[in-house]
């Protein structure tokens, strides 16, 4: 977590432990704190203060948007094939429609437009959910075009974006103005795990996913996680203020990482072109190496990387994103995702390049022997 976030939450875990919905003096102090936090978040999101909802994270935000819209309006839910499971599984659960993505992992606009005009569902679309940035490969969605076709062909549909991976690298104001609902996770920008923010347009007809005490203007019940909210707002504030410099700095590091690996080992696919993805994700597909083996040896070399999403048992699942993008099995089995952030340094990149190159060489050498 960012130090600013830890500092911001500490007072609310000891001295000011009150429930902000109460009426006594300590409750009022807690209420003042989250009111101010909400102001800061609204500023960073470029939305009205009343449009900010604090949640338990991106998964809740995604579920609330899709199930909330479907429950309120009925009709069909639509998303892209490369969405995070927090979106994809909601749409599948509702027997909605999944639109293909292109080779870079972004939604096929023509297919989306055709789906919205399909006589079977035209006029009966409850929600369209398209991620701002893909969580595995980092590709940036053409949300402006998505918004254009959705508004043209399904003006009554809710347009939602899972912006979890965008928060660090893109100005959320530019995204929020295009959509009706936007959800982010705090831990992606240095805030606490188990916290998130949803921006929901005022007056938008969506049923709440969680009902109870009526917090967050009846849109999300449950006692406020005051410390979590304070830390989330603090982390977002710093992220927003330092974003431009960080994007420039991390882009250089990311390019150095990918260039370093690709110059030393053969048959590595840079999964998405650099101009089509955000700074913080270096995604490569290494032919002839299995992700599980690469990750194990990288871990031994003290490099913590990832491949795709893990299932409940902790096993790596084949990536639905790479499958949707049409990456061949020889490459997709060797998927390697390395994430960079505000703490990443140049010397760490040098170490990572050496480790990846060493690991891939070892695996390819041993494979011939085995």
């Amino acid at each position: 977590m960012r130090q600013e976030a830890i500092d911001a939450m500490s007072p609310y875990m000891s001295g000011i432990y009150a429930n902000p919905s109460g009426s006594h003096r300590f409750a009022r102090l807690a209420r003042k704190a989250i009111d101010e936090a909400r102001d800061d978040v609204a500023e960073a999101l470029g939305c009205k203060v009343g449009e900010v909802i604090f949640t338990s994270g991106g998964t809740e935000g995604d579920n609330a948007a899709i199930f909330g819209a479907a429950r309120n309006r009925g009709g069909i839910s639509i998303c892209s094939a490369a969405e995070h499971h927090a979106v994809l599984h909601c749409v599948e659960n509702l027997h909605g429609r999944v639109v293909s993505v292109d080779a870079t992992g972004v939604i096929d606009i023509a297919e989306l437009e055709a789906a919205l005009q399909d006589p079977q569902i035209a006029g009966n679309v409850s929600v369209v959910s398209v991620m701002a940035v893909n969580n595995e490969v980092g590709s940036i969605s053409p949300l402006r075009q998505v918004a254009k076709v959705v508004r043209a062909h399904a003006p009554n549909a809710v347009l939602h974006t899972d912006a979890v991976q965008a928060a660090c690298w893109q100005d959320l104001r530019e995204i929020s103005k295009l959509v009706d609902v936007l959800s982010v996770s705090a831990h992606k920008f240095g805030g606490p795990k188990g916290m998130g923010i949803t921006m929901q347009r005022l007056g938008l007809q969506i049923d709440p996913l969680i009902v109870g005490g009526g917090q967050e203007r009846d849109r999300r019940s449950g006692t406020h996680n005051v410390a979590g909210i304070m830390a989330t707002a603090a982390a977002l504030r710093v992220t927003d203020q330092t974003r431009n410099e960080e994007v420039a700095r991390v882009t250089k590091l990311r390019d150095a990482l990918v260039d370093g690996v690709c110059s030393e080992i053969e048959d590595v696919l840079e999964t998405v072109p650099r101009d089509k993805r955000v700074a913080g994700i270096a995604h490569m597909c290494i032919a002839g190496c299995e992700s599980e083996s690469v990750l194990y040896l990288l871990d031994e070399a003290m490099i913590c990387a990832s491949a795709a999403s893990a299932c409940a048992s902790g096993a790596m699942e084949p990536s639905h994103v790479l499958t949707a993008m049409g990456v061949d099995k020889q490459h997709s089995m060797g998927a390697l995702r390395m994430s960079l952030g505000h703490t990443t340094t140049e010397s760490e990149i040098d170490r990572a390049v050496n480790a990846v190159v060493g690991v891939v060489r070892q695996l390819r050498r041993n494979k011939i022997k085995a």
């Binding site: 194990y296 040896l297 048992s313 096993a315 699942e317 695996l363 041993n366 085995a370």
Partner: protein, 355 residues
């Protein structure tokens, strides 16, 4: 040595990991995720992976999960289904050992730089005076699992460790209790891991293949009964054949898949002295024709005296007639003192001549 121990979440592999640590090895635990479908018995269910991980944490070793579900489906589940279609009685646990534990996993371990793979099987690897590796029966006669790992050749035996093979099951449990392992009292797994207790084999196969109705006939071709699913009938079976009550005991003596007929007969008609075996592999060099061996045809079956009548194809001749072995079952030859595995293969559908 750096050892990768396969941890299923059961007590044997838990203690195996602990034994390796006691021997001073560098140990990493791994649980293979094999089956993605629904099942409540599986050795790869989430709760079993949790058990394996928690034991690894208790022992202070790293724990990995490898997803081999594609290979498991290809080498174990799909052939299991096809075997039933073909009128063969498969042994999926042996195929899992052959293709997953002692092929996919050991290859992965080699690539990652491990010196050996270990499992919790009750079997032992020893070396004779010439340095040849031997797969020896587990110390606990009742729990011996050398039968299910008979496919190990010299290269695999050299790379494999069975750290609990020298212990009795009771000793294994005692050690687990002494270590406070959460798996200490966990029951032994009995069932095919990908088949749920509630639905059973019938439901599993029924979801994947269309069952054929079949007539049950005597050796003379006289109709005696009927079954709804030819695919579920096994040689030696007595129940569920739609036969009238009373009369002498009747057994399935043959499953005629092409003609969708189940042939029944009395016990005598089920007896054979000859057994043809395919897909044969030997732990070291092949024995000679005329060599006396003991033959085991099920996981806890008796070892029966026989002579090697022919080597290629392998034909075994029992001293005394035995109930016919269902095609698809593994047939494992032990040395005549019943101490170690010589090799084995899969029972063939055809009967050897001079029956």
């Amino acid at each position: 040595m750096k050892v990768l121990v396969a941890m299923s979440g059961g007590v044997d592999s838990s203690v195996a990991a602990s034994e390796l640590l006691d021997q001073g090895h560098e140990v990493v635990g791994v649980t293979m995720r094999l089956w993605g479908g629904e099942s409540d018995t599986g050795c790869c269910s989430v709760s079993d992976v949790d058990d394996a991980r928690r034991v690894a944490q208790q022992l202070g070793i790293d724990h990995l999960v490898f997803n081999f579900s594609d290979d498991f489906n290809k080498h174990v589940v799909a052939p299991y289904v096809q075997a039933h279609v073909d009128g063969i009685t498969p042994n999926p646990c042996i195929e899992c050992n052959r293709h997953l534990k002692f092929d996919r996993l050991s290859e992965r371990a080699r690539v990652l730089g491990f010196d050996a793979v270990a499992t919790g099987h009750h079997a032992q690897v020893s070396r004779d005076a010439t340095g040849t590796y031997r797969l020896t029966r587990g110390h606990d006669e009742l729990k011996d699992q050398s039968y299910v790992v008979y496919m190990l050749d010299q290269a695999e035996l050299a790379y494999t460790m069975f750290p609990v093979g020298h212990l009795t099951k009771a000793q294994v449990r005692d050690r687990a209790v002494a270590l406070g392992l959460r798996t200490a009292t966990k029951p032994d797994s009995q069932d095919v891991c990908f088949i749920s207790k509630t639905g059973g084999r019938e439901t599993f196969l029924g979801n994947r293949i269309e069952f054929r109705k079949a007539a049950v006939v005597t050796a003379d071709g006289e109709k005696a009964g009927a079954v709804d699913a030819l695919e579920l009938v096994t040689i030696g079976q007595r129940k569920g054949l739609g036969l009238p009550g009373g009369g002498p005991k009747q057994f399935v003596v043959d499953v005629d898949t092409p003609n969708a007929r189940v042939v029944i007969g009395n016990e005598e008609q089920l007896l054979r002295t000859g057994l043809a075996v395919g897909n044969v592999m030997w732990a070291n060099v092949a024995p000679g024709v005329g060599e006396r061996v003991l033959v085991q045809c099920s996981a806890h079956g008796a070892a029966i005296a026989a002579t090697i009548e022919n080597l290629a194809p392998l034909v075994l001749r029992f001293d005394e007639a035995q109930r016919r072995i269902a095609p698809g079952q593994s047939v494992v030859c032990y040395d005549i003192t019943n101490s170690h595995v010589l090799g084995g293969g899969i029972a063939e559908a055809v009967n050897p001549t001079s029956n």
